[in-house]
């Protein structure tokens, strides 16, 4: 019956692009075919990279397909464009500018510089991009690595800032029987070559925001926060205050505390709060979870922005908690990671 719907894509820098989307076709697919700079990665409703907000008209997520979008997010108009079909002419707004998705992911090879066990279940992996290779990224974004000797791919957020390129630092959580974990534990050697692609993800530090930043990180979800902290430190102009709440399951599982101490020294506006779920009390941490560590007092400024990264349960709880404290849902940016074997 009906011909195509006219879909308007509006980026944060004012750039607007209109694409025709045939009935029954995905918005993302049509947008990419028309060359629109929409961030995306998995194209299957899980990674959240292609999220946009419906601001006019009608568009629905494909029914019966599992997605990582929360019902509350959908109610606020959020859509994952890879699973979204236009019902009428409609308009979407993106939280990032049109340059963010331009160019798309690149392929690169990288050499392992160091492999450092920083906790019983965490490894700091430092890579150096090979001669002639380059991957630009925004602090908070991730890359996809092919585990050497396998076809398996794994995604990790950069813990280093773009200023550190060609060196890339990743924080890898070791899982029993995990493909990457086994590689790092058993076979990885300095100077090994790893193939990677990227950058991916709509979870990245927004420019020019002066309101207080609240960061909540669980486990290796600390990685994108480290990248963002280093980028904020180098930002020209007034820098926002940052409150970073970082939690692990046990005191033994904590890592990067020296690195956080250094950032605290370098950044007068940074406060850190370290939590462990259980275990012995210590001078440097409290017993509890990193979400509850954020109190109403921390969110007094209603313009505060938040960055969340950790397991899905933590991200969900953190979002609810912060919305309850009065943060604008549009100012809460989140990345959740799912363990894969």
């Amino acid at each position: 019956m009906s011909a195509a719907c006219l879909v308007s894509l509006r980026f944060a820098d004012g750039v607007e692009q209109r694409v025709d989307v045939a009935a029954g076709h995905g918005v993302l697919e049509a947008a990419l075919a028309a060359g629109a700079p929409v961030l995306n990665q998995c194209r299957s409703g899980s990674c959240g990279s292609c999220m946009a907000r419906l601001v006019g008209g009608d568009a629905r997520m494909r029914p019966g397909v599992a997605s990582s979008l929360l019902p509350s997010e959908q109610a606020q108009g959020q859509r994952l464009l890879c699973l979204t079909e236009a019902v009428s002419d409609c308009a979407f707004e993106f939280a990032y500018d049109s340059r963010a998705g331009a160019g798309g992911p690149a392929k690169a090879s990288a050499f392992i510089d160091t492999i450092e066990r920083i906790a019983p279940d965490a490894v700091r992996l430092k890579l150096e991009l090979a001669e002639g290779d380059w991957i630009d990224f925004r602090p908070g974004q991730f890359v996809e690595l092919t585990v050497p000797g396998t076809d398996a791919r794994r995604r990790y957020s950069m813990a280093s800032s773009p200023a550190a390129l060609p060196v890339i630092e990743l924080l890898v959580r070791l899982l029993p029987g995990g493909v990457m974990s086994d590689y790092l534990r058993d076979r990885a050697r300095v100077d090994d070559v790893i193939a990677l692609t990227g950058p991916y993800g709509g979870f990245f530090l927004r420019d020019k925001v002066k309101a207080p930043h609240i960061m909540i990180a669980g486990g290796t979800g600390l990685a994108p926060m480290m990248s963002m902290l280093d980028a904020i430190r180098a930002r020209p102009g007034a820098r926002p205050n940052v409150l970073l709440s970082f939690g692990c399951a046990t005191p033994e599982g904590l890592f990067n505390l020296d690195e956080l101490d250094l950032r605290s020294h370098w950044m007068p506006g940074l406060a850190t709060r370290i939590s462990v779920d259980s275990g012995a009390a210590g001078a440097a941490w409290r017993i509890g979870n990193p979400v509850a560590a954020i109190t109403a007092d921390d969110a007094r400024d209603p313009a505060s922005v938040a960055y969340l990264c950790g397991p899905p349960g933590m991200v969900r709880a953190a979002r609810e908690h912060l919305e309850g404290l009065g943060l604008d849902p549009a100012n809460i940016h989140a990345e959740q990671f799912v363990a894969s074997e």
């Binding site: 392929k107 690169a108 090879s109 990288a110 050499f111 150096e128 991009l129 090979a130 001669e131 002639g132 290779d133 060609p166 060196v167 100077d191 070559v193 180098a234 020209p236 102009g237 007034a238 250094l262 020294h265 370098w266 950044m267 007068p268």
Partner: protein, 447 residues
């Protein structure tokens, strides 16, 4: 990525630090001041002195370089304008051959690209007034403040927003008597400051050939008093200097870190927190009849030294070590005195010309200048920062490095496309061969 060619390691590799944990400045301490170690080209987004007011008469155009950024200054109707001295077209320095058609603009003398003095916007091109580029681009402007005969410029990154520019007072030393309770000075009257009413500034600036950090650390390094023993001013005034000054307690230095104020450190000299060393038995060296000159040194970002009660009462000496490149700095030494009457101004000027300039700014400070240059090669390739063996008296530079790492507003990237970015450019070599050392002011084209 080409499948046929195996990935290659990058050709230039980072250097690995190997630092002994037993040093005063061990690995952990050094990490705390890593940003300072990275600041070879200076701290950007700070206020720096650019020129004396008398160097910029009405309608004069001059070019300077600070933190690797070329800056052109022009005075119009009394007001100084400062813009990036690099045409967007082909990178020519506007100041090399000043061309100004009116009071609102400055033009590039090569192809006529013309910029608005207030906004830096490209308003026209002399011989190409309809070009599409006009109105779409421009050069960065730098906020200017002129005070007590000195022109200060806020040297910033292109993206630094106007509304975030702090007042000049945040980059100047603490003032007295406002801070007399906090930093008591029973041995001398409250010193004057640049921002005081009727402050008179006399001094000079010249180019030094070393990294700005080496120069800056010399000013408040209490262990270097040894180099000044034989200076004429010291002998003429019968001052007796100790062999050295040692920290005697852990509160010998107080950090200055007020919100919306200067950031740096104050040293409690001539209190029991610092101990003069009068004898070295091993060497049979002994100082008798100590007739010290009471003074006190402090330093604030971006590297401003204040010597209170120096060289005599009611006078303060300020110094700046303005980075030009990573191996040259503009050394500013000025004396400040409050002189409400013309008679006092004349008296200060006379004493400056006859005593202070030859014996202090030259005599005494010349000694510092060559001492800094003597350290430069050790630090020039970066290894000195790892290899230096600091001792207890170096608490002053170490504290400065940490506080500067915490409160700087940005680390200047290495200069690109500017004088000194390429050390062996042919023009540089030609000028050196002609006896014209690398310096601070633009070399103007003569025709």
């Amino acid at each position: 990525m080409n499948e046929a060619v195996p990935p290659q390691r990058r050709k230039s590799r980072g250097r690995l630090n190997t630092i002994s944990g037993t040093r005063t400045n061990d690995q952990k301490t050094q990490s705390q001041y890593q940003p300072y170690k990275d600041a070879a080209w200076g701290f950007i987004n700070h206020w720096y002195p650019a020129l004396f007011s008398h160097e910029m008469p009405e309608d004069h155009v001059e070019g300077i370089q600070i933190c690797g950024i070329p800056i052109v200054l022009r005075r119009v109707d009394g007001r100084i304008h400062a813009l990036k001295d690099q045409c967007v077209h082909r990178g020519v320095r506007l100041s090399a051959k000043p061309m100004c058609f009116n009071k609102q603009t400055i033009s590039c003398w090569y192809h006529g690209f013309t910029y608005d003095l207030q906004t830096g916007g490209l308003t026209t091109i002399v011989g190409n007034p309809d070009d599409k580029l006009i109105g779409t681009t421009g050069i960065t402007t730098y906020p200017v403040q002129e005070i007590a005969g000195m022109i200060f410029v806020f040297v910033r990154e292109d993206a630094f927003p106007d509304e975030d520019v702090p007042p000049l007072a945040e980059d100047l030393p603490v003032r007295f008597p406002q801070n007399s309770e906090r930093f008591p000075h029973p041995l001398w009257p409250p010193g004057p400051g640049l921002l005081d009413e009727n402050a008179m500034v006399l001094g000079m600036h010249r180019t030094g050939d070393c990294n700005w950090r080496i120069a800056c650390e010399n000013g408040f390094d209490n262990a270097h008093i040894l180099v000044h023993q034989d200076n004429t001013i010291v002998q003429a005034m019968n001052w007796v200097l100790p062999l050295g000054i040692r920290p005697a307690s852990d509160d010998c230095i107080t950090l200055i870190e007020d919100e919306n104020g200067p950031k740096g450190l104050m040293q409690w000299l001539f209190t029991d927190r610092w101990e003069p060393v009068l004898e070295n038995k091993e060497l049979g060296a002994k100082v008798e009849g100590l007739n010290g000159r009471f003074y006190r040194t402090s330093v604030v970002l971006p590297g401003v030294l204040m010597v209170e009660n120096w060289p005599e009462e009611h006078i303060v000496q300020y110094e700046w070590y303005v980075p030009i490149t990573d191996d040259t700095y503009e050394y500013w030494e000025v004396l400040v005195k409050v002189c409400p009457t013309e008679e006092e101004r004349q008296k200060f000027k006379y004493r400056y010309e006859r005593v202070f300039k030859p014996l202090c700014l030259h005599g005494f400070n010349d000694c510092d200048l060559y001492a800094r240059e003597a350290m430069h090669e050790f630090y020039a390739d970066g290894t000195g920062w790892d290899d230096e063996q600091l001792v207890a008296t170096d608490v002053s530079p170490i504290t400065w490095r940490k506080v500067a790492s915490r409160y700087n507003r940005g680390i200047a990237p290495p200069g690109k496309g500017v004088d000194g970015a390429t050390k062996s450019s042919s023009i540089r070599l030609r000028r050196i061969a002609a006896g014209d050392a690398p310096g601070y002011l633009v070399k103007k084209i003569e025709d």
